[in-house]
């Protein structure tokens, strides 16, 4: 595997190109808006003001972003080991069990900071468990992880429905959800953080799991680039044959990385369950696992890229809701389209504009002092 194109400055590689891809995705989305008979510029206006226009809106944007940081990291960590985990969705869903159990058990006994560590452990444990199986199957039985994680998403959905309609649902209630948690099961909002910037959080459910997400992002960075294990998983991601040569056990890495990935996905459940709803309800993941794929691709699988990418998708979700309020012809499915387009242009077509950009920069640097590509030996 060699880099097929000439070397570009880092900021072009990690900044300009993703930005251009993103822009094209939005342009195409604009065409869809036109097709529906609405004005794309208006839509863009509503989207931006709806996402950032007020402290409350920003709070919602960051609330969604929190979720996407977790799922984005989940997908990205697996990417680094060469694994494509499409199962973050299911892992996050199952991770919810851990959060819910901790809250149901202790919310009336302990304050939130007592429940939170347990909820985190539970979320990570159940998420990891759900990722362990596909990881194990890939490592030991050779079943393709993409296919098994897809299957596990479906199985998770069935399992959760069973649990929520038969086991966790309080008697007499109709909605497939747990009871509402008491104070111990509710995370405090980050109103003070917004307050520092003179913003009023309003009703936005922006809560401390955002800080956990940032910590997780930092943790992932350390894990990937500063630990021996990270070194091993990157080796495997780039070259399985080199990994074998280096004595790195492919199945061990596969299983552990999948579990880390699943744990990160599972942690996502804290945000909607403890941070917003104060209960676990059916389908609370809402496709965030899939958004994670787009976020990881946009963010080039680097935590420093994933955070802005997650905020971007938070903006799409929050701003998209505002579009839906203001423009009746456009429902929230618009976001699904944009998400798909971002995956298409930032992922599958990421190199579409690279040759042209490469040529442009080659033209710029042609007269620069002899390239540093010193010929060796």
């Amino acid at each position: 595997m060699s880099n097929p194109y000439a070397k570009l400055p880092v900021w072009v590689d990690y900044g300009l190109i993703p930005l251009i891809n993103l822009l094209v995705a939005f342009l195409v989305a604009g065409l869809v808006v036109l097709l529906v008979g609405e004005n794309p510029l208006n839509a863009a206006y509503y989207m931006i003001t709806g996402a950032f226009g007020r402290g409350e809106y920003l709070g919602f944007t960051l609330y969604y972003a929190t979720t996407f940081i977790f799922t984005g990291l989940s997908v990205a960590v697996a990417f680094h080991a060469g694994l494509f985990n499409i199962g973050s969705e299911g892992q996050a869903y199952i991770g919810g069990i851990g959060v819910a159990l901790a809250c149901l058990w202790l919310d009336r006994v302990l304050p939130w900071y007592g429940v939170l560590p347990l909820a985190m452990i539970g979320a990570a444990f159940f998420g990891a468990l759900w990722a362990f199986l596909p990881g194990w199957l890939q490592a030991k039985r050779g079943s393709h992880i993409v296919i098994t994680t897809i299957m596990f998403n479906f199985i998770a959905a069935s399992l959760m429905v069973y649990l929520l309609t038969r086991v966790l649902k309080p008697m007499g209630s109709m909605a497939p959800q747990t009871r509402t948690f008491d104070a111990g099961g509710q995370l405090p909002k980050l109103d003070w953080l917004m307050g520092l910037f003179g913003l009023n959080i309003g009703n936005a459910p922006f809560n401390i799991s955002f800080l956990l997400a940032l910590a997780a992002a930092f943790g992932c960075w350390v894990l990937i680039w500063r630990t021996r294990f990270g070194f091993e998983m990157r080796t495997m991601g780039h070259s399985p044959s080199a990994a074998r040569y280096a004595g790195i056990s492919e199945s061990r890495i596969t299983i552990i990385v999948m579990m880390i990935s699943g744990a990160l996905a599972g942690l996502m459940a804290l945000n909607p369950i403890m941070g917003e709803q104060a209960r676990m309800q059916l389908d609370f993941v809402q496709g965030a696992g899939f958004v994670g794929i787009a976020v990881a691709l946009m963010g080039r699988s680097h935590p420093a890229g994933i955070i802005p990418a997650a905020i971007l998708f938070g903006m799409l979700y929050q701003g998209g809701a505002e579009i839906a309020f203001e423009m009746p012809a456009i429902s929230r499915d618009m976001i699904v389209i944009i998400q798909g387009l971002v995956i298409l242009f930032a992922g599958a077509l990421e190199n579409m504009f690279r040759p042209a950009i490469g040529r442009f920069f080659a033209g710029l640097t042609a007269r620069a002092p002899a390239a540093r590509q010193a010929k060796g030996a």
Partner: protein, 310 residues
């Protein structure tokens, strides 16, 4: 009048040909009658519930009517934040001073269509297809079973559900397939309480030359001559009344439990199904209706004990 009414639909969407559409029709009726505009919104996911409620309340809309039991938790929170706003919720009870809770005795309406089904069936086997497998839908099923069995001890009722996720409201392919499977097992009348999935159920019944029974709205026109009747759940009336009473300044909070007596549920007769109903059937169903209203027949409510006594 000086009202800014608003309506919010549930996940099934405004045009589900059944529950949400009923709510929409009520709002439309109000609009055409009074000329007062209303705001509306279709949510796309659960996280939006509180958001849209607050937004509508914050914009000064009142009353805000929401269709569907799923709104309860969000409403509980938001209604406390906006004590001056009037809310109405359909299909669920939320005990707050500024909330009107409208629930229906679906078991009663289902009982009536059960009577019709039992009598219309030649094979003495009828069937029920629910959408999502939740207590509310079992309530429909249970009433239906009661009605069908009241026409004869030997009547057999098959019961199935499309699924357990919200997608179950929207899977006509599966709905049709379940219906066919029930026809194969002998059923010749099928009643659905499955939202959009029901479109497929009624279609399959029509294709197979069997009879379907619609739900919520009057669905007799979906397959004219092939739909025996529809169990009406007058969501439209509920919404219309909520808007209208608010416009007239007579909006009342508290629980209203609408059954046959209140004309909250019923069965549909129109040109599309007139020919299907024999005089005996009409007589029997009217008698059942009278008995229920009079209280001589008690239709079991599944949700009272989460089990079906029939």
């Amino acid at each position: 009048a000086d009202v800014k009414p608003a309506i919010i639909y549930d996940l099934g969407g405004k045009f589900d040909k059944s529950f949400n559409e009923g709510a929409f029709n009520g709002a439309e009726k109000f609009k055409t009658e009074t000329g007062t505009a209303y705001r509306e919104f279709e949510i796309a996911n659960d996280a939006q519930r509180e958001q849209v409620l607050r937004r509508f309340a914050g914009d000064g809309n009142s009353p805000i009517v929401m269709a569907g039991f799923n709104w309860a938790a969000a409403l509980e929170k938001v209604s406390a934040e906006y004590p001056d706003t009037k809310f109405a919720i359909i299909d669920m009870v939320v005990e707050k001073p500024n909330v009107k809770s409208i629930v229906f005795k679906e078991q009663e309406g289902s009982y009536l269509v059960g009577v019709l089904a039992g009598m219309a069936s030649k094979s003495k086997t009828v069937s029920f297809i629910g959408g999502m497998d939740i207590p509310l839908i079992h309530k429909f099923a249970c009433g239906y079973v009661g009605g069908a069995k009241s026409t004869g001890k030997d009547v057999k009722v098959l019961e199935a559900y499309t699924g357990t996720t919200p997608e179950a409201w929207n899977d006509p392919v599966k709905g049709g397939e379940i219906a066919k499977s029930q026809f194969d097992q002998g059923s010749d009348v099928v009643y659905h309480a499955a939202g959009g999935t029901g479109v497929g159920v009624l279609q399959a019944a029509a294709d197979a030359g069997k009879l379907g029974i619609g739900v919520d709205s009057n669905q007799n026109g979906l397959q004219p001559g092939k739909v025996l009747t529809s169990m009406l759940k007058r969501v439209d009336v509920a919404v219309y009344n909520a808007f209208k009473t608010a416009a007239d300044g007579k909006f009342e909070t508290g629980i209203s439990n609408l059954g046959l007596k209140e004309d909250g549920v019923g069965y549909a007769v129109d040109d599309n199904n007139k020919a299907l109903l024999t005089p005996e059937m009409t007589a029997a169903v009217e008698k059942a209706k009278a008995d229920i209203i009079a209280g001589t027949v008690q239709v079991h409510d599944y949700m009272s004990d989460e089990s079906c006594a029939y």
